[in-house]
């Protein structure tokens, strides 16, 4: 009987260990990191599409140099924002990353508005293909951002609530993560009408 009690007690201690939120917080942080990886990948995908897009538009719309250079510059700027691991824990770096991507978004949507003036370009199959790819990418970015924000929400809540906040203070020292904030026009895929 005594042996049995000892087993039960060890079981309860195990339960208590998992009840302090240590594992939950770790899991939530991993979820945030995974979601962030998706965000990065989708943004990278967009950057990869830009040179092709610029080349295609250039062939038809020679007079839109300004808009094109803006896109190219925005892409270059996105490239210089160094993506380090601590971007998640550093609100300032996160802000920087977001600002660079937002300026890219607006440069792109300006380009797509300009394109409306060139029916030849719009009818071009390779441009239509690019547009589908771009739309798909913007949509993926949107989905990845929404999911990232959801995981951040879960994570931030889990490090704040009792008793996890104690565990975090004593053992883990995790910081709250930054969610994406909706920038005007940046959260939507560029509107393209035919």
């Amino acid at each position: 009987m005594k042996k049995l009690l000892r087993y039960v007690a060890s079981g309860i201690i195990l339960l208590m260990l998992s009840g302090c939120g240590y594992n939950v917080m770790q899991q939530n942080e991993e979820a945030v990191k995974a979601a962030w990886g998706d965000v990065e990948a989708t943004y990278q995908r967009r950057s990869d599409l830009i040179p092709n897009l610029v080349e295609t538009v250039k062939a038809y719309a020679k007079f839109e140099k300004d808009t094109l250079t803006q896109v190219t510059e925005a892409r270059a700027k996105v490239g210089t924002v160094q993506m380090s691991k601590d971007v998640l824990d550093d609100p300032k770096k996160f802000e920087e990353f977001q600002a660079a991507q937002n300026s890219m978004s607006s440069a792109l949507s300006r380009l797509l508005v300009v394109v409306e003036k060139y029916p030849d370009l719009k009818a071009n199959q390779s441009f239509m293909d690019l547009q589908h790819q771009l739309e798909g990418t913007e949509n993926r970015i949107n989905v990845a951002r929404t999911r990232y924000n959801k995981t951040v929400e879960t994570f931030n809540a889990s490090i704040r609530t009792f008793p996890n906040n104690l565990t975090n203070k004593l053992l883990l020292h995790l910081k709250a993560k930054e969610p994406f904030k909706a920038a005007p026009g940046a959260d939507k895929a560029p509107q393209v009408t035919f």
Binding site: M1, L4, Y7, V8, G11, L14, L15, S18, D38, T42, M128, D129, Q131, H132, Q133, E135, G136, T137, N139, R140, I141, N142, V143, A144, K188, A189, T193, F194
Partner: protein, 273 residues
């Protein structure tokens, strides 16, 4: 009610559910023609085709038409439906949702993560532009859906071929303790065993005492054979919306259908006509 404020508060609690849930229709089968765009003969044909497609290739392609998006962006609605219906097999993420909104004259092909390699945004976009759009423009909706579905099937052919549905999808024998089990659940079972054993030990002690008091044993065997597992909740952990039994008895719109828990990452293409 004495406090209208309390009632209001309670109603307020339901508000998010009302807004979220109202617009996602119940999946009826492979073809969900809520927008009344497909004739019944074409619908039956499509459903049969999609059913056999899932049986041979395990890829789940679901058609949904709605009367209107009610102002919601097409892409947002489409991913919400895809996530709610969990189209495609779990771990393969091989689901496709072909969504058409009648009044908005918009459509979208939402592609599961596992199919993004075969059915790229580009391919999906071309299918919309070159196959479906011309037919829809000519108001040949039956033709558009049939041709579009055939094109989608052709595009995805080859990926996941000859791979039957996994047991987690509901087919095949149910194997207890197969698949992942959350660690807390294992612990719970362990605890359950302890509690049961201690209860048994106690009852046996009582039983022995009863016998010693020269009362007849009441069916409690001394060996105390005890069979069976603690109750283990159904085969699938809340993935999908119907159990196998429900699905087998569900014969509308070309036979049973259920999602398997496929994931979507926003891939696919949109278009209008």
């Amino acid at each position: 009610m004495k406090k209208p404020g309390a009632l209001f508060f309670v109603l307020l609690l339901f508000l998010p559910f009302a807004v979220e849930a109202a617009k996602i229709p119940v999946p009826r089968g492979y073809v969900n023609d809520y927008g009344n765009m497909i004739s019944s003969s074409a619908e039956a044909e499509l459903a049969a085709k999609l059913k056999s497609f899932e049986e041979t290739d395990s890829t789940q392609l679901v058609v949904l038409t709605v009367p209107s998006l009610e102002g919601e962006p097409l892409e947002d609605y489409s991913i919400r439906v895809a996530e709610a219906w969990k189209i495609g097999q779990k771990a393969k993420d091989n689901g496709i949702l072909f969504l058409v909104s009648r009044e908005d004259r918009k459509m979208r092909i939402e592609v599961g993560r596992g199919l993004e390699g075969k059915l790229t945004d580009l391919t999906a976009g071309r299918i919309i532009d070159l196959v479906i759009k011309p037919k829809f423009k000519a108001e040949d909706y039956d033709g558009g859906f049939t041709a579009g579905v055939s094109a989608l099937i052709d595009a995805t052919r080859g990926e996941f071929t000859a791979d039957r549905r996994t047991p987690s999808g509901g087919q095949g024998p149910y194997v207890p303790f197969a698949g992942e089990m959350p660690p807390w659940f294992a612990l719970l079972i362990l605890m359950g065993f302890f509690v049961l054993f201690s209860a048994m030990a106690r009852s046996r002690a009582r039983h022995d005492q009863l016998r010693r008091n020269d009362l007849r044993g009441r069916g409690l065997r001394k060996s105390g054979t005890w069979r069976g597992y603690p109750p283990y909740p159904g085969g699938h952990y809340g993935e999908g919306w119907s159990t196998r039994e429900e699905r087998d008895s569900d014969h509308d719109s070309g036979g049973g259908f259920s999602g398997g828990g496929g994931g979507f990452g926003g891939g696919g293409a949109s278009g209008g006509w």
